[in-house]
């Protein structure tokens, strides 16, 4: 356990340090969220309707920014070899790195989202649903994104391929996440939040095994 904790702390420290990915993802998220109302126009009713969808897509894209480097830097500088030969199983290493990514990307995005919801004139009920859906759904972004990052590990310019692999797989999260916000606005219990939770739970539970397989594949080539 303490080996996993040490790895988690190292990853979080690297992500929040100069040149790290955490601040970049937040800034990107804020920039996208600020740009959309400028493009769509100042129609408060329309903005409130699209807020959930736009902020969910923005969060997914912002999280993807840093995902392609999740294993890449460790692979290139030889750290991955050292992590594989450490006391943790490869599945545990994958789960730990996914947790580190979520804590430095998904969680800050979730915490920033109520502020950005103001730009969209989202009422309190919708904001609450947005924050809850992001809190529940962003772990799935980190988990599924990690599979894409593992698959493209030895591909040059893999950063461009990761979104192509990962975005289709994340569409359920966007559909249910945005659906939960719309449901809250309309006062409907549409069950989107439960489906999102189920999707996220399955993704987090299963992806470490898939990620470990992709890492094994890349290390043996």
């Amino acid at each position: 356990m303490s080996a996993a904790f040490a790895l988690l702390m190292r990853d979080m420290r690297l992500a929040t340090r100069a040149g790290g990915s955490a601040a970049l993802a937040l800034a990107f998220f804020a920039a996208v969220a600020a740009l959309v109302p400028l493009g769509v126009g100042a129609d408060p009713v329309l903005l409130a309707r699209i807020a959930g969808g736009v902020l969910w897509v923005g969060a997914v894209l912002a999280a993807l920014l840093s995902l392609d480097r999740l294993f890449q830097t460790d692979f290139e500088d030889g750290s991955l070899d050292l992590l594989v030969l450490g006391p943790l199983s490869l599945e545990s290493v994958a789960a730990t790195k996914i947790a580190g990514h979520w804590l430095t990307t998904g969680l800050p995005l979730t915490l920033l989202s109520p502020l950005l919801a103001l730009l969209f004139n989202l009422p309190p009920s919708g904001t609450l649903a947005l924050v809850a859906s992001l809190a529940i759904g962003t772990p799935a972004i980190s988990a599924i994104g990690a599979i894409g990052a593992g698959l493209t590990l030895s591909v040059r310019r893999g950063g461009l391929i990761v979104p192509l692999i990962v975005l289709p797989l994340l569409s359920p999260a966007v559909i249910f996440g945005a659906g939960a916000v719309i449901g809250a606005l309309d006062g409907l219990a549409n069950g989107a939040m439960w489906l999102l939770a189920a999707f996220s739970f399955a993704a987090v539970l299963l992806s470490p095994f898939a990620v470990a397989a992709t890492l094994r594949l890349n290390l043996s080539s």
Binding site: R10, L14, T73, D77, G78, L85, G86, L88
Partner: protein, 212 residues
Amino acid sequence: MRVTGLVKLSADNLTCIRGERVLFRGLGFALAAGGALSVEGANGAGKTSLLRMLAGFLIPQSGTICLHHNGSDSFDPEDRRHTIGWLGHADGAKPQMSPRETLSFYARFYRGNADSTAGIDAALDAVGLGRAADLPSQYLSAGQKKRLALARLKISARPLWLLDEPLAALDTNGKALLRDAIAAHCAGGGMAIFATHDPLGLDCQTLTLGAP
């Protein structure tokens, strides 16, 4: 920390095919506790491939590798994860982390307990990095990063050291440090296998790859 008590490493009838080319075939050796093995051969002869095979990264096309402990013989991942210390081409130094942070991390990661600050300082001083201990690793020279990798190998407390071109970028003093570290490791009952072009000046077995 698990005490491994590795007594012997044996490899039997190993074949390595990279691309379409056979690098070696029918390769076998045995190394007992306290032994050192120098892997020699021309560029492209398969030295790195052999070391990566012994670390379990590469799967041999044929043959077996076995770690013999007191009472158990195996080569499963769980076993490797507590046995092998690795020093490869890439030194694993994060540009944003100082040598002190790097060593503290690996002490915790490999051994599960936080080393005392004094222990980390001593390890850094032993490889001549005392003055660069708090400098981000991006400012270190290639030789200094290699020294950091050596310090990491020493604190990882693994019985079997696999070293790929450990002499690269090291100065005369660094080479002596490395030789002494390997000698001390083997004298303490550990094993070391290294691929190198320059003789280390150690009393060791030699395995030449690519020989007819």
